[in-house]
């Protein structure tokens, strides 16, 4: 009995240890709030809870500045995955590879320049993966 519990405990902790990198992908991110280490951007920096065009944003602070940022609509549905890529980093040769996605289905992608905001203050590009055809409309305001 004792041995079996110990074995189970070891199995669980090993699984947890090995699962860490994939956890962000496997956890249910479809509804706000996503599980830790994701945190609301508005709790990390001085920004509104809902950002027109991007939604209510969550990010794992360890992944700044690139993200992924998860954008939820007003009903808490995951609608976009956003990356924020500093222009100067790109020019210096930095690559941002193997970034996680909030959901596997992507219906369209928007890429545009942003002059900076609290959290990612350097001029950067927003790469916005929209997860369904109506997502952009729901995030608009």
């Amino acid at each position: 009995m004792l041995i079996r519990s110990l074995a189970a405990a070891v199995a669980v902790s090993c699984a947890a240890a090995f699962a860490v990198p994939a956890a962000a992908q496997d956890a249910d991110l479809s509804k706000a709030p996503p599980p830790a280490p994701y945190a609301a951007v508005s709790s990390l920096v001085e920004l509104p809870d809902f950002l027109p065009g991007l939604g209510t944003l969550y990010v794992d602070p360890e992944t700044l500045p690139a993200g992924p940022f998860l954008g939820y609509d007003h009903d808490g549905k995951l609608s976009a995955t956003i990356y924020m890529v500093p222009i100067a980093d790109l020019e210096a040769g930095t690559a941002f590879d193997d970034l996680a996605v909030g959901a596997p289905e992507v219906t369209s992608v928007d890429i545009y320049y942003n002059a900076g905001h609290p959290g990612v203050e350097e001029p950067h590009a927003h790469v916005v993966l929209l997860h369904d055809a109506d997502a952009k409309a729901r995030l608009a305001e």
């Binding site: 509104p48 545009y112 942003n114 002059a115 900076g116 905001h117 609290p118 927003h126």
Partner: protein, 180 residues
């Protein structure tokens, strides 16, 4: 909520402090209400700026900064060693001030007494050239201190965006490109 309350308290505290420095006989300009300066941004944040970005006012003018950008936060911060260790770009006789980050529709007020040129910036957007030049009074006024010379203390985009004192005095409020 708590965070915003604190910010509001902090801004209110600074504004009240600034207001208390007004002399009992306030200048006529203040009697007509504050001079409005908006922080603006395009919908996707490609462009940000103060509107106007160059402005002349009389000594004693009350300014009100309002963040009209729904998707960004902005500050109005004077260049001064006491604030983030920056080179002084306001008259020596003037007290430095900093709005702190303003969320959309939040505002900050300050009264300017000392004659001369005040250069200000937005903390998260200085690199993007979000700066503001205020001219209080006119050259020759008692205590007048003109514009600080260009300096590598400022990012290139900020230096390039500062309008000349002559243009501000000649043309009135200068609006930023792309944010009208």
């Amino acid at each position: 909520m708590n965070r915003r309350g604190l910010l509001a308290l902090a801004s209110g505290g600074v504004a009240a402090l600034a207001l208390r420095t007004r002399p009992a006989a306030a200048h006529g300009a203040a009697a007509h209400g504050p001079v409005l300066i908006e922080m603006r941004g395009s919908a996707r944040g490609e462009h940000v700026g103060f509107a106007p970005l160059g402005l002349a006012v009389a000594p004693g003018a009350l300014l009100r900064f309002v963040n009209r950008d729904a998707s960004n936060s902005h500050t109005a911060t004077t260049y001064h060693p006491s604030l983030f260790d920056r080179q002084r770009r306001i008259p020596a006789a003037a007290a430095p001030w900093d709005s702190g980050l303003l969320l959309p529709e939040e505002s900050f007020e300050v009264t300017l007494e000392a004659a001369g040129v005040y250069d200000c910036y937005c903390q998260p957007h200085e690199m993007a050239g979000m700066v503001l030049r205020l001219v209080v009074g006119r050259p020759g006024d008692p205590g007048w201190e003109g514009a600080a010379p260009p300096s590598d203390d400022l990012p290139e985009a900020a230096l390039a965006a500062l309008p000349s004192v002559e243009a501000i005095l000649a043309d009135g409020p200068l609006m930023p490109a792309g944010l009208a």
